[in-house]
Amino acid sequence: MIGLLIRDLRLAVKAGGGFGLALAFFLIVSVLVPFGIGPETGLLREVSGGVLWLGALLACLLSLDRIFALDWEDGSLELLATSPLPLEMVAITKSAAHWITTGLPLALVAPLLGLLLNLPEDGFLWLVISLLVGTPALSAIGTFGAALTVGMRRGGLLLSLLVLPLYVPSLLFGSMVVSNGASGEAVGTPLALLAAISLGSLAILPFASASVLRVNLR
């Protein structure tokens, strides 16, 4: 399992692995937002928490089809399925690899983008915390979506349609943590719920992902 994880991490970081792309996308989206809604500082302060969460979410979304696509194409997914490693573990490992190469870097880079968007001072800590706590859910949910659409030509758009509604609770609670934190309000409940969603997704979705992979590998 660790071997699989390391292999995936290595693949992601290699040239063309998409590691930097998610970060670049996050940056671009954050830069584009003021172009779209105007540079007025007051407005940006208000929306920055939510916009950053949204940007991170979209950046995660973009890298989802890579979770299984390469393995599907060269047949290694079938090998993984017949290996002694349970497919559920494969799914969780894939989610972990995705998180380490996407959610984690996004969370660490977010404060810099917070500067661009006039995020209030108190918001920075909560931005990082909420992203660290919330992005594992995005990876687990995304793995499920990727498993559903693995092998489909043009599966990317369908993947987005399926996954984005599932992202709503995490997005709601994540951005609430940031905006509440930035304005000094209570952060405990949304943060706890955000964590619950992440933990629940990691606990349950690998089973769903595995069963769906089995269906697609038939």
Binding site: F144, M152, G155, L162, T189, P190, A208, V215, N216
Partner: protein, 230 residues
């Protein structure tokens, strides 16, 4: 097939009678509301459509469970058949809600918990239907969409509470519950219940019809495949 074929005309007749009857009663023979004026007449479509919009999803959930557990082909096809019906009901709910909301609340849309949850439900329907359409093998499609329905339901429930937490709403509370003080007055309630039941029957008749179509389509493609191999 023969049972559904025998039942279908009766259900259809009853559905049409109740929907038409209920709407005519509601539209022509009920008074205007003190606060809402004539817009209260929208309740006769808005509420039944909204109820059936969510009700359909639960039926799809049950059918998906039956497919996952017992692999009854009809249940998978029934879920597939029900989705467009649920989607249209949800769309009607959203549309009539917006048209009702504009004169009453001054806005076409509000990110109120109920409306927002309903909009998400609409997206779930779209995703479900898109997945059926994207997969060629019917058994694979049935399996994938069943799991999607199950997972989607869990997230829909979570979303409902998340949205409630996110924004305490302005949508009216439950008006038809047995005990609430916000009950709709009797003069509106009777035609409303008829419309609700009528829409329910309409749902049944459409799902019966569409499932029969799906079964036939399956049979047809099986026959074609058989012929190709012979």
């Amino acid at each position: 097939m023969s049972l559904s074929g025998a039942v279908l005309p009766w259900v259809t007749a009853l559905a049409v009678a109740m929907v038409v009857g209920g709407l005519i009663w509601g539209f022509f023979f009920t008074p205007n509301d003190f606060r809402q004026g004539a817009t209260v007449k929208i309740i006769y479509i808005h509420v039944p459509a909204a109820i059936m919009g969510s009700g359909t999803w639960f039926m799809m959930l049950a059918a998906s469970l039956v497919w996952v557990i017992r692999r009854h082909h009809v249940s998978a096809l029934a879920a597939k058949a029900a989705a467009p019906v649920g989607m249209v009901f949800t769309l009607i709910g959203l549309f009539t809600g917006a048209v009702w909301g504009q004169p009453m609340w001054g806005t076409w849309w509000e990110w109120d918990p109920r409306l927002t949850a309903f909009l998400i439900l609409f997206l779930f329907y779209l995703g479900y239907m898109a997945l059926w359409a994207a997969v060629e093998n019917p058994d694979t499609a049935a399996d994938l969409t069943a799991v999607l329905c199950l997972v989607g339901t869990v997230f829909a429930v979570i979303s409902r509470y998340a949205i409630l937490f996110w924004n305490q709403g302005l949508h009216q509370g439950a008006s038809l519950s047995m005990d609430a003080e916000e009950n709709v007055a009797d003069v509106f309630a009777y035609p409303l219940w008829i419309c609700i039941i009528g829409f329910g029957l309409l749902f049944i008749c459409l799902v019966l019809l569409r499932t029969r179509t799906e079964i036939r389509a399956r049979r047809l493609s099986a026959l074609i495949a058989q012929e190709r191999m012979a």
